[in-house]
Amino acid sequence: MKNLAFDNINKILNWWNAKKEDISTFLVPIISIIIAFFVAAIMIKMTGKSPIAAYKLLFQGALGRSLKEFLSLKQAGEGILKGAILTLTGLSVTVAFKAGLFNIGAEGQFIVGAIVAAYFGFKFNLPPIIGIPLILIIVGVTSGLYGAFAAWLKIKRGVHEVITTIMLNWIAIHLVENWIVVGPFNILRYNPQAVLAGTPYISDSSRLKPLFAGTRLNSSIFIAIIAVIVIYIIINKTVLGYEIKATGLNIDAAKYAGINTSKTMIVSMFIAGALSGISGACMILGTEGRYPGVFRPGYGFDGITMSLIGNTTPVGTFIAAIFFGLLRAGATGMQLIGIHKTFADIIQGVATIFVAGQTGIKYLLFLIGEKRVVKPREAHDGSY
């Protein structure tokens, strides 16, 4: 009887020991997010407010007050929209990660994509079915090249991509906001009476329209889902994906085996840049309608955390992005009790800190298996 119980426990523990590496990979982000909510709750408590009330508002703000409201997507639409934008920048970081590159430059690529979309959205007046894909292609190529430039610098000149992409972010920000938007492509050039800063509005045919009334959710979500599927297939099923992964996991072996690792890195950074750019384009063509005077939503930087929390896999990134998209939308609801919506950043930041320090979490998880394998007491020779 006793032995049977041991058998069962040991069965579970053996299974855990065999699989713990893989399972931990899933558990780490989830545990990180849970801890983050706790930390954030303490912060709310500090301010003298009720974390439970706050989280209730957060939840209702994210998904809706009732099942019916949730299904109508009126409330959740906003979060899903944000999630779509985050998915694209997150995927951008994920693709680069697979090739062993750290794309801190999603922000810059996002901005390049946004301004290019604003320009062609304004210039083109084609039927949406042709015009919008065309804009997205142009955006993809431009931002893609901007991303690939960092890979090129790494290959040709040995410059670490983290530094170059950071620098390229700020180059993009300053050139777009302090030159293009205020200079050659300013709204005043086209409409001297305009009172707004920024670029002129894009043509109506270039707009991504809301899917249904009462929400801002537009077809960005379809673009994001298509991107997830395409990237998933590229990484897991194609020859290119195989080469990207080989390069990312062991560039020496990949090179030795005859894989053109330079090309692989450039292609993956091109894809990464294109995805971030398309993300920026979705914002311009969807919600913004033009490039505003100052436009730094930070989705590029957020993409990094989406990818990390999503375990740098396409599907994981998507889940993380939708989750944090909803969280951000929901956080707006918390303003009712005086908690600013950047509250979502706190949760995101704390969760990422724990993902960064995941060896700590893994260590604790692994202890479960190591220490608790139950053994019926038997003769022991005293050594260990």
Binding site: M43, M46, T47, F102, I104, L153, K156, R157, V159, H160, V162, I163, T164, I166, M167, L168, N169, W170, I171, I173, H174, L175, V176, E177, N178, W179, I180, V182, G183, G298, F301, D302, I304, T305, L308, G338, I339, H340, T342, F343, A344, D345, I346, I347, Q348, G349, V350, T352, I353, V355, A356, G357, Q358, T359, G360
Partner: protein
């Protein structure tokens, strides 16, 4: 006379603008010379900036006669500095714990700290000052020359007038750090840990200790840099702070080849581009039609890429920069 005035005001603007970049850049120098990258300078500056204001605010015991509550102008800015230092230590400790003890990814850790600082400081701003714009004005070092007597000197006194405690720090610290790194035995060990931690370890240098010290100091410097913006250049914390200066500091550190005096020069040089742009705007706005502002602002980043790529000079980071050190086991 007019020309001299312009020059003096040019120099004093430069000093003021360069101050946070120099101090934060030195933070980068200290950390990276021990082998830990720190792209969290931006986030750490933001935390330091907020808590400096917060410290100056809570040290006030007076009641605001009109609004009630604390009188923000009656506090002590030195408490602000103290609080900034404490938050810098904590932030450095966090980055150090993840990077050194847990051997986590240093970039990820830094990104997380940046994200947290972004949301966290807005949260605190709202919590304590009921706003998401900027804090009320507090008692600060803004416009308070550290050595008032010098400010009385005719003409050049103008320059000393803007030199508050942070500006002096920014001018002195590069030499202190230089002295530390190149003329003390601690500095020798510090650099050895950044170049070849194993070699240092085999000689009995405690690699973890040196790295923790470096990252914590880096946090302190970055936090002070943030404080120099909020209670040095201004007397309040603006929610946009530090508006990317942490990344310029990173660029200055690289452009300065990871050396303290190089970073000082690079920071001054980068500021020059910015101040020239501002002066052109004031005195010769037509020039901006030919060379747009964005070009001046993007210049530091552009030059940093060029120098890293070896198109202008060559900058090589410390050999073990960013590489976690595994003590003992497995050579």
């Amino acid at each position: 006379m007019e020309v001299i005035k312009i020059i003096i005001s040019f120099l004093s603007s430069m000093l003021q603008f360069a101050t946070p970049i120099i101090i934060a850049g030195l933070g980068g120098v200290i950390s990276e010379n021990a082998g830990v990258t720190n792209i969290a300078l931006e986030g750490m500056m933001r935390m330091g900036g907020f808590f400096a204001v917060f410290g100056a605010y809570i040290s006030s015991n007076k009641i605001d006669p009109i609004l009630g509550g604390r009188d923000p102008l009656a506090g002590n800015p030195w408490v602000g500095i103290l609080l900034a230092i404490i938050i810098g230590i904590l932030a450095g400790l966090l980055h150090g714990y993840i990077s050194i003890s847990l051997k986590g990814n240093q970039i990820v850790s830094a990104v997380a700290i940046n994200v947290f600082a972004l949301g966290g400081m807005t949260f605190f701003l709202e919590r304590y000052f009921n706003t998401t714009g900027h804090s009320p004005s507090v008692n600060s070092f803004m416009g308070k020359p550290f050595i008032p007597i010098l400010a009385k000197i005719p003409i050049v006194g103008e320059l000393f007038r803007v030199m508050n405690v942070f500006v002096w720090l920014a001018l002195i610290l590069p030499f202190v750090v230089h002295f530390y790194l190149y003329h003390t035995h601690w500095g020798l060990r510090h650099r050895a840990v950044g170049e070849h931690p194993k070699a240092a370890d085999t000689l009995g240098v405690d690699v973890y200790k040196v790295r923790y010290f470096a990252v914590i100091m880096s946090g302190v410097f970055a936090a002070l840099a943030g404080a120099s913006m909020s209670i040095g250049q201004l007397d309040l914390f603006d929610n946009h702070m530090p508006a990317g200066l942490g990344f310029i500091a990173l660029a200055a550190m690289i452009f300065g080849k990871w050396k303290p005096l190089g970073t000082l020069l690079a920071a001054l040089f980068f500021t020059l581009a910015n101040v020239v742009q501002i002066f052109i705007q004031t005195y010769a706005p037509q020039v901006l039609k030919i060379i747009p502002r964005g070009f001046f602002l993007a210049l530091p980043y552009f030059l940093t890429i060029l120098i890293l790529a070896g198109f202008v000079g060559k900058a090589t980071p410390p050999a073990a920069d960013g590489v976690p050190y595994e003590k003992g086991e497995k050579l």
